[in-house]
Amino acid sequence: MAGGMLTIARILRPQRPTRQKLIAYESGVDPVGGEWAQSQIRYYVFAVLFVLFDVEAVFIFPWATRLEVYGLFGLVEMAIFIFILVLGLFYAWRKGVLRWV
């Protein structure tokens, strides 16, 4: 349905592109420079941190589904797991790579 309506609209609507219309919309300000800007390496650390804790989340799911059954044993194992990962977070913070400049 949705796809069909979009297709019909695309066929029916008038299309008269002009130079002015094709400029990327940046909240009313004309864009400066090319469409491509190299991102900085320091942001990469944030991406890596995200991956780290994403994987951690994946392992928390099976633990959470049977939290009571695993009891103290599961808690300790998970605590070790998270402790080691948190060390990484502290490390990143201490080395000053977490500053968003």
């Binding site: 650390v45 890596v48 991956v51 994987v55 392992f59 099976p62 990962l85």
Partner: protein, 164 residues
Amino acid sequence: MVAQNIAFGIISGIVVFSALRMVTTRNIVHSALFLVAVLAGLSGQYVLLAAEFVATTQVLVYIGAVMVLFLFGIMLTKAPIGKSMEMTGTQWPIAAGVALMLGAVILYSLIDQFGSDRLTEGGKIYRTADVGDEVFSTYIIPFEAISVLLLAALIGAIVLARKD
């Protein structure tokens, strides 16, 4: 079972098409997005196989985390967004040949081994809790090792990414 079969066919078609486009497209960002389609399709297949944990992991880790790294990598290396003619190397016919051959060998061995097997209904379904039981018993050492692995990867990545 019929509904599953149809869904399997449709998703397989999308996955194969996206995979082909991924290696043939001349725009590196499109290539990454086609990879998302492939991974999402596979996640759908896992759902059809009633493997809920694998499907979730696929979405969380691959489509979520790994794609972020991919796009970051593309942005960092300053590859121009848009068409580029160097995307396809000069040795692509050899690569295609090798890929086809490997595909044929794998396909043959899979059909040879499992071609006559039939999935029965009411087989054991492995839930997330079953995965948890395995992780917290047989595979507890690899599980803890993974946290060390991730920590080492982070520390190394920070060292290599630092400017000084």
